[in-house]
Amino acid sequence: MKLRPGALILNAVLIGGAFLTVAPLLWMLSASLMPTGQANTSPPPLLPSRVTFEHYVELFTHLNLAQSFANSLLVSVVGTLATLVTSSMAGYAFAKLRFPGREALFRLLLTAMLVPAQVGMLPLFLMLKKLGLVNTYGGVLIPWLASVFGIFLVRQVAQAIPEDLLNSARLDGAGEWRIYRSIVLPNLGPVLATLAVFVFMSSWNDFLWPLVILSDDRRYTLPVALASLVGEHVQDTELMMAGAVVTVLPVLALFVVLQRWYIRGVMAGSVKG
């Protein structure tokens, strides 16, 4: 393969850019393995003088990060499943089933995408207080039970399901629920995988809502636990880096493995409209 100088420069720039982009993450990993106090020296070291896992041990023993990890996992898994169920049903309904008020309802849902999430946060907090859901897992999950974006995505794909398929099933006497389960769902496979990855990552990384709704540190999700660690341990650089690694690693790994689905979700979300 010929390597013209132009191409060489281009690729070099891209590699440089890639390095700059990952550098903070690499330093985060490196600092998490440094002995205490080493990260706060001038000039800052790039690599640990000796590799130690003591900070990870500290996080999982004294600081009980495992509990927060489990909490994040619980919220993300349940939230993802809930959104998948509600969005696939509603997305299909809006795409293929004619019912009174369908169009108006859909347009109403779309306006929800215009409203910033913070507008409803405080009042939602007060509402959940009346329902007794403050500081509970249920409270954290509420925003992740349904998703306008999910409905939109599923509807987009469901619209492409051929009418003939559905109608012949109806003529055969199949009920609507059976049609949904056996014909529509299998066809929605790829978009549901995409949606699942999307929702999992968003709920895992969510910060403001869990910060607002949770006050019991046993229920904290990872981002909130991490932020609260900063309050007490801001001077323990290496410890905080270890905490950051624990929070970031799962989603990063998930991303690397499931790139295809996630990227598809990003692109699909940008399809005109």
């Binding site: 500081n135 540190d217 309050g231």
Partner: protein, 382 residues
């Protein structure tokens, strides 16, 4: 906790920690959400807030039966727990602020002990700075903490709020004098103009000699022992706050044991409060955390009075002044350091900072004024 459980079989205690910086928000959120614990440790500057919110159980009926009362404690500290004549908390540990400093750095600058008045203190800081050279300071005073300017104001005789806690008194001469003194420390570069989140590790900086002292509280007794290098362990000590004309007052802080409203186990909760208030338990707590006992009897323990570092605290605790007991205090304190920070960095003049402070505080207290006038008009008590 285990000892308590052993003494009271049938009661199990679950402990939860929250970092102090988030405690205010988290406890309020828990109150709003109805998820407060039975017993808690509440900073006494928040007692008025939580009391107004009806989040606390009045303790007078419980206190009537026992040996706990004002005389068992430092008077100034006990008073911070009383709101409108009702006692809401039993002091647990006391907190006040005083100087933690490096004896060796003071000695090198020519001082064998900490000066006791403002003028002497400033001269000492200047000497340390000159001796240290460029990039060195006398003291670390984080610009985003309210304790120091407020304590200086209290020492100068400022009530901070006027008219029954419904207006700001920051433009009055007393606070103005303290404010000028505080700003002067930064103006003369005796302290770096940074906040506590801009310093990587203040213990490391103290060890490296970047500054020689800081104003902080009793929990640092434990932290200093843990975090300063062994070579410095004999070189640090504590001293009473210098006041305008001699040893000064400091802030009457600390935490109290409170019972939260909505507790389903008030009797058991009270048992726990009594247990933790026993002098032996107070001393034990001190040994574990370095937090100082509120109970006077606990101070009779020789260890506390023998150590010069804790003795300074004992002295300081006899001169304390509480902060105004209004629910808005936390926010007012935040505005104090915000305006001080602006003045320190030259974004505003001292006069206009104080004027802004009064204006903001007056606005904040508007509701309180309205409620007070409503009460006075004979309407239903709020």
């Amino acid at each position: 906790m285990r000892d308590f459980e052993r003494e009271h079989p049938g009661i199990r205690v679950q402990v939860q920690q929250i970092p102090w910086t988030a405690a205010h928000e988290k406890l309020l959120t828990a109150h709003v959400g109805g998820s407060l614990p039975d017993v808690g440790q509440l900073g006494n500057s928040w007692i008025s807030e939580f009391g107004t919110l009806k989040a606390l159980v009045p303790l007078d009926p419980w206190l009537a039966h026992g040996a706990l009362g004002r005389d068992a404690y430092f008077g100034g500290i006990w008073d911070t727990n009383v709101l409108d004549g009702v006692t809401y908390g039993v002091p647990w540990y006391v907190d006040t602020r005083l100087l933690f400093y490096r004896k060796d750095m003071l000695a090198r600058a020519g001082y064998s002990s900490m000066p006791t008045d403002w003028r002497g203190w400033k001269a000492c800081l200047r000497a340390i700075k000159e001796h240290g050279g460029p990039g060195r300071y006398g003291i670390f005073l984080p610009t985003n903490e309210w304790m120091t300017p407020v304590v200086l104001g209290l020492q100068a005789g400022s009530p901070l709020l006027a008219d029954g806690g419904t207006r700001g008194a920051f433009q009055e001469p007393e606070f103005r004098r303290a404010f000028e003194f505080y700003l002067g420390i930064f103006r003369d570069k005796l302290a770096p103009a940074i906040g506590f989140n801009e310093i990587a590790n203040k213990y490391q900086e103290l060890s490296r000699g970047t500054f020689a002292m800081m104003v902080t509280g009793p929990w640092e007794l434990g932290e200093f022992t843990r975090r300063l290098p062994d070579s410095l362990q004999t070189q640090w000590s504590t001293a009473v706050m210098p006041g305008p004309n001699g040893p000064g007052a400091s802030f009457a802080g600390g935490s109290s044991l409170v019972m939260f409203h909505g507790t389903r186990h008030p009797a058991e909760a009270w048992e726990l409060v009594k247990f933790l208030s026993r002098p032996e338990q107070q001393v034990r707590f001190w040994r574990l955390t370095g937090d100082l006992p509120a109970r006077r009897e606990a101070w009779a323990d020789t260890v506390l009075t023998a150590d010069e570092r804790t003795r300074a605290f004992g002295d300081q605790l006899t001169h304390t002044v509480p902060c105004p007991m209004v629910p808005e205090w936390e926010e007012i304190a935040t505005r104090v350091y915000e305006q001080a920070d602006r003045a320190i960095r030259g974004a505003t003049s001292a006069d206009s900072a104080l004027a802004t402070l009064d204006r903001l505080v007056d606005k904040m207290l508007e509701k309180r004024r309205w409620l007070a006038s409503r009460r006075a008009a004979g309407a239903k008590k709020s």
